[in-house]
């Protein structure tokens, strides 16, 4: 209802009134009196002009043309709110913070700034396409949805997956499978309910999903903050560990929480048994009942043997992979690989590959159990 001209004069009126009050209060004496009266006079003049402008519709149309009044650009709804100035400011601020703190803040801020600039630009452009704000909004959507939807979907999926992974990393290994099953069951159950209750309100569904998503993200953030559940460091067994020459601590590290069972995906070359009276023998795959003390191993072949410990002590199976001259001609040290130490009844795979004939090694290829004397299985590599 206020026209452009009248707004100007109304503003000026208000300004001059405020000025008069401030001037009057702060400047004393006759000069103060004169100035205050002058300013009040000015405000009266402005108020009068504002009234005239308002009445004459800024002087360019007849006051009775209500249609025009309704259609005037100034009468149209103002442009919508925009979050982009705020986002751009945050981005710019973050940019500064990022330069002095962490690079990741800088990068994220840069992306935010870019996105805000793009969105702001397109929004600004679309708001001027036509006078119809609904149509303008359509234009904006058509320009930006092809980018926004895939990007937002990816970000959403990433947040979802990241939250879930943080939760799974935070909780205990055994609890993990239960959490996984329970969440899966809940999602399935909710899906069933949605499918069965077709009449369910849109907002109810949206509400339930939002609550679920927020819960997930919330717990995810909490989990990320509280950190991962402890994962046992598992150093690979070195030759020293396998040959029993390493320190107690090193050996313990290798054996901590070792798996005691295997799931075989194909046949091993042989099963190696350590009996309860600490005798070592091998059963060759294919022949059920002959105890072997030497196994023939093809060269350059990945070989798997399955070790069964039936003795009371924790034992490991070690494969001695020979001693070779180094390139400079000096005598090398013996190479070895081994399983972790197994409790009674435990089984483990030992996989190894011998590339050179036994002639090339100055020590024999063989399988032994450190701690058990005089028991070995020769490996024949022609």
């Amino acid at each position: 209802m206020f026209t452009t001209g009248s707004k100007l004069f109304l503003g000026a009126t208000a300004l001059s009134i405020v000025s008069a009050i401030v001037f009057g209060a702060s400047v004393g004496g006759s000069a103060g009196m004169l100035g205050t009266i002058g300013l009040i006079s000015v405000s009266v003049v402005f108020a009068f002009l504002a009234g005239i402008n308002l009445f004459t519709r800024d002087g360019n149309l007849a006051a009775t043309e209500s249609d025009v009044e309704r259609n005037a650009a100034a009468a149209q709804a103002g442009v919508g709110r925009s979050m982009w100035p705020l986002a751009a400011a945050l981005g710019a601020g973050g940019l500064v913070v990022g330069t002095i703190s962490k690079p990741v803040v800088f990068k994220v801020s840069f992306i935010v700034l870019l996105a805000a600039a793009a969105e702001w630009m397109v929004q600004g452009f679309s708001e001027r396409v036509s006078a119809d704000s609904k149509y303008n909004e359509g234009i904006r959507k058509r320009l930006l949805h092809p980018l926004e939807f895939p990007l937002l979907a990816s970000v959403g999926a990433a947040v979802f997956i990241y939250s879930f992974s943080r939760i799974m990393l935070n909780i205990d290994k055994d609890a993990g499978r239960w959490v996984f099953m329970v969440i899966g069951a809940i999602i399935t159950a909710v899906g069933f309910v949605f499918a069965a209750k077709r009449g369910m309100g849109k907002s109810t569904v949206a509400g339930i999903i939002t609550v679920g998503a927020l819960a997930l993200v919330g717990v995810g953030i909490a989990s990320a903050v509280s950190g991962q559940h402890p994962i046992e460091p598992h150093p690979a067994a070195t030759a020293a560990v396998c040959l029993g020459t390493a320190s107690e601590v090193q050996i313990e590290e290798v054996d901590a929480k070792a798996s005691q069972s295997v799931a075989a995906k194909s046949n091993p070359l042989a099963n190696v048994y350590l009996t309860s009276d600490e005798q070592l023998y091998a059963l060759n795959t294919g022949i059920g009942n002959v105890q072997y003390h030497e196994i023939t191993v093809p060269r350059s072949n990945a070989v798997h043997v399955l070790f069964h410990n039936d003795s009371a002590e924790p034992r490991r199976l070690t494969v001695h992979l020979g001693t070779f001259k180094a390139k400079d001609g000096s005598e090398g040290s013996e190479e070895a690989e081994c399983t972790t130490a197994l409790e009674k009844g435990g089984t483990a795979f030992l996989s190894f590959k011998i590339n050179k004939s036994q002639l090339a090694s100055s020590t024999p290829y063989r399988l032994t159990v450190p701690g058990v004397e005089d028991q070995e299985i020769k490996l024949l590599v022609p």
Partner: protein, 670 residues
């Protein structure tokens, strides 16, 4: 396909005296208008019309059929004599890899897509598919993917790992040329085409059937295509994942199939065959659908046991997922898996047998008219039966360990694919040509074409049974003289027979090509209903108008068209079927009630641009990632263009008034 409506009232700006500027979607944002040509090359390049796309699918697939056929002839030339030297070992390996890949991915699948595209909307009484631009995208992806795949011939050699591409032989260590990279990326591109095509046709069938048409009143071809689309929908993601793994292993150092890193190469085999076995049904079911249309038409009676045929098709679709490991009986899966998959494989023979029985019983008691299409359909029954029963011999796992990877298997699947799928497609050509082009393929040349192909197939693949049982393995560039055996009928003899047979097939195909050109140039216009057909696609002009039907027909029965033409009348000899209306009369009745407003989708520039970006990205992956960046930019541009382009061209172009003269006719090709 968002449609943004124009603002209802356009407000004038303050003080403007001139006529207010009307902002319409067509002009908004200064984006290209949608193309409007309905004739000339532009009308083909930018079309979204399912019929034009169907024809283009068919033409390109036929081109690749010839390519794959030449590859096959070269293979047979090489094998015509022991220790032959027509091809080097490397060339031979590329040849059989590309022969299989071309025939499966670039001929049979897209040819089935051609028929599905053209006839599925017509058979269900729709004006187009549900997503016309996506339909166009599918075609262009197939074309560019196929060209990309074959460009490897000129760029250092094609893939040489066999179409099954077993790891680790497909790793960069054992196949250092770029052939397999081309293969992987080419199949990814055509895979997208299959996947979006599947979504499109499923939505079309479920949502756009003519009023009155229940699912169990759909023509069997439509049914089989629907089953195939579901198979594609679930099978393509599996091969896509497998191809990605292989691609990352070859190009970016991943170790999914690297034994030295602890991977198990059997993973690839499982992934490949979980896709590969449903693929077999993807190949064969459209052809089953075609002959289930052709046999009733020329036997003049409905398909025997329609429901059984439909359900057995669906059953094949389901059980087909549980038999993949029968390709791996010799892989060392262990006896439990082998036993289970062996029995499951026998199970799938049951629904397949049901189909054969039903087709045979459709002939029984009929009034058989032996057109070329009918001969091809009967050829399918015969040849597929042979391929089917030899399939049962390898369902028996111990027996399969003797037969697998020998020519017995080659014989089996060529009987199934050439005898089943390809012959079925040829049946479709002869049956539907007059509908597509308004001209009949020459029946005289057609008979030559059929008999040459029929004998050629038996001559080529029949002896392969013997060769395989005598122990000639597959994929061998040479077979040695000393193992041929003695006597006149030795392996040498049968190999020569097979090679001669392959050229007989080649001659048959040549006659088909000649037939197409003869028909194009010389043949007179076809009658409206040359076969006295039974289904909806014949209740319209030949070729159909751009909008398919002047009025969407209302369906009351299976074989709607037949029931409009024939009625049961009581005569002195008892009830008899009598023709009460001609096809022309049925059509005239439909046209006289033409719909007032027919809305058709407008052509679009973007499908072809978008699909052209993908090979560029793929070349980039192989040669230089900067090229991929350029390709991605084009891709993004095309996506934007796609989203921004106005939803219609110009209302007046595609909104002809009832009986109006602005309805555009398709240019005829045949």
């Amino acid at each position: 396909m968002a449609i943004i409506e124009r603002p209802a009232a356009v407000p004038a700006t303050v003080g403007s005296v001139a006529a207010p500027e009307v902002v319409t979607p067509t002009q908004a944002l200064g984006v290209f208008r949608r193309p409007v040509s309905s004739s000339g090359w532009k009308s083909w390049l930018f079309t979204v019309d399912h019929k034009k796309l169907g024809i283009m699918y068919g033409a390109v697939a036929l081109f690749f059929f010839l390519v794959g056929g030449v590859e096959a002839l070269l293979i047979r030339l090489q094998l015509a004599a022991p220790d032959n030297t027509v091809l080097s070992a490397d060339q031979y390996n590329q040849m059989f890899t590309m022969h299989a890949t071309t025939m499966v991915f670039l001929f049979v699948m897209p040819m089935a897509a051609a028929f599905a595209n053209y006839f599925l909307p017509l058979q269900i009484g729709a004006r187009d598919v549900a997503f016309p631009r996506i339909n166009a995208l599918g075609f262009w992806l197939f074309l560019f993917g196929g060209l990309f795949l074959n460009s490897s011939w000129l760029l250092g050699g094609a893939a040489d790992g066999g179409w099954f591409m077993y790891s680790p032989n497909s790793s960069a260590l054992f196949s250092p040329s770029h052939g397999i990279d081309f293969w992987v990326l080419g199949l990814q591109i055509t895979g997208i085409a299959s996947l979006i095509g599947a979504l499109n046709l499923i939505v079309t069938v479920l949502n756009m059937r003519a009023p009155g048409m229940k699912l169990m009143q759909m023509p069997v071809f439509t049914w089989m295509v629907l089953v195939v689309q579901f198979l594609l929908l679930f099978a393509m993601p599996v091969i896509t994942v497998a191809l990605f793994l292989l691609s990352f292993q070859r190009n970016f150092g991943a170790t999914f199939f690297d034994v030295n890193q602890g991977a198990d190469p059997l993973l690839w085999q499982h992934l490949f065959w979980i896709f590969g076995h449903p693929e077999v049904y993807i190949i064969i079911l459209p052809s089953f659908g075609i002959i289930s249309e052709v046999l009733p038409t020329f036997a003049r009676k409905p398909l025997f046991g329609y429901k059984f045929v439909v359900f057995s098709g669906a059953a094949i679709g389901f059980v087909g997922w549980g038999v993949w490991a029968h390709h791996m009986f010799a892989s060392g899966l262990g006896p439990v898996s082998v036993a289970v998959f062996s029995v499951a494989t026998m199970l799938i023979a049951i629904p397949t047998g049901v189909k054969i029985v039903n087709w045979t019983l459709t002939l029984w008691g009929g009034k058989l008219w032996f057109t070329t299409a009918m001969l091809y359909a009967i050829g399918v029954i015969v040849l597929f039966t042979i391929g089917g029963v030899s399939g049962v011999t390898h369902a028996v796992a111990p027996s399969d360990t003797q037969q697998t990877d020998t020519y017995h298997i080659v014989a089996h699947f060529h009987y199934v694919i050439v005898g089943g799928a390809v012959m079925g497609l040829f049946s479709g050509f002869y049956y539907w040509w007059p509908k597509m082009f308004g001209k009949m393929l020459s029946e005289r040349l057609g008979k030559w074409n059929f008999w040459l192909m029929f004998f050629g197939v038996n001559l080529t693949f029949g002896p392969m049974h013997i060769l395989g049982l005598q122990g000639q393995p597959r994929r061998m560039v040479v077979w040695p003289e000393k193992l041929t055996g003695d006597g006149f009928f030795d392996m040498h003899f049968w190999n020569q027979v097979a090679s001669v047979g392959s050229f007989v097939i080649g001659l048959g195909v040549l006659i088909f090509v000649i037939n197409i050109f003869w028909t194009w140039k010389k043949a007179p216009l076809a009658p409206l209903d040359p076969w006295d057909a039974r289904t909806l696609e014949w209740i319209t002009a030949s070729p159909p108008k751009e909008h398919n039907f002047d009025r969407i027909p209302t369906v009351h029965a299976l074989d709607e068209f037949f029931h409009r033409k024939y009625e049961e009348m009581d005569t002195e000899d008892g009830p008899r079927l009598v023709k009460v209306k001609s096809a022309e009369e049925v059509l005239a009745e439909e046209e006289s009630h033409a719909d007032a407003h027919i809305h058709l989708p407008s052509p679009s520039y973007w499908p072809i641009v978008l699909s052209a970006a993908l090979p560029i990205i793929a070349y980039g992956v192989i040669y230089n990632l900067m090229l991929s960046v350029i390709g991605t930019a084009i891709l993004l541009l095309a996506v934007f263009g796609w989203c921004l382009e106005p939803s219609v061209a110009d209302d007046s172009d595609y909104d002809p008034p009832a009986g109006g003269d602005s309805t555009k006719e398709l240019a005829t090709l045949g």
